[in-house]
């Protein structure tokens, strides 16, 4: 059973952020290869997104996302309030152009190896 207060906080964050990434580490310093892959995809599209580092509260957040989305692993990318997927699904959707469509951005011409400085978003905090 997930912590009710934390669950409410997470639901509020998902509702308030059109594109929200739950990840291990931060976009500037990902602490897991899967999280890093999603950051690279989003940055290559110049997508604006909020990011939450789950590591400080990994198990409680796992319980919350299990209840909200029936998904236990991180990263998790939410777009317009809905779980899109983890790293595998996000990359597949990027390659097929579905991600650009979901985010309402242009598909970058080079499909791999994003270049340039990452678009940075301030990290969000869960108190």
């Amino acid at each position: 059973m997930a912590d009710a207060e934390l669950k409410q906080k997470v639901e509020e964050l998902i509702a308030a952020n059109p594109v929200l990434l739950f990840m291990k580490g931060t976009p500037e310093a990902p602490r897991c290869g899967f999280s890093m892959r999603v950051v690279q995809v989003l940055d290559s599209m110049d997508a604006e997104y909020g990011a939450i580092d789950v590591l400080p509260a990994l198990q409680p957040l796992r319980e919350v996302t299990t209840e909200i989305s029936d998904w236990q692993t991180f990263p998790q990318l939410y777009v317009n309030g809905e779980l899109l997927g983890g790293a595998d699904i996000v990359e597949e959707m990027f390659d097929s152009g579905e991600l650009a469509e979901a985010l309402g951005v242009e598909q970058p011409e080079a499909v791999s190896a994003p270049a340039g400085p990452p678009a940075q978003s301030p990290p969000l905090q869960i108190e």
């Binding site: 899967f34 998904w71 779980l83 983890g86 790293a87 595998d88 699904i89 597949e92």
Partner: protein, 77 residues
Amino acid sequence: MADLAEIQQMIEAALPGAEVEVADETGTADHLRATVSAPQFKGLSRLDQHRMVKAAVKPRFDDGAIHALSLKTEPLG
């Protein structure tokens, strides 16, 4: 550390008729990659397809044998 053959059998048992390939990503047998084509996936979102595979191997996540499972899924037939 997981037994790759057992992981494959768990997925096949949950999804009869599926074509399943399981590979060791890191050489340590705890970060795996699986490709699963299953007739049961027809009409399901990728999320639901992944949920079905993850549910099939959940005991090996719970006991720590697997740390990560990278998935590629598609409907079969």
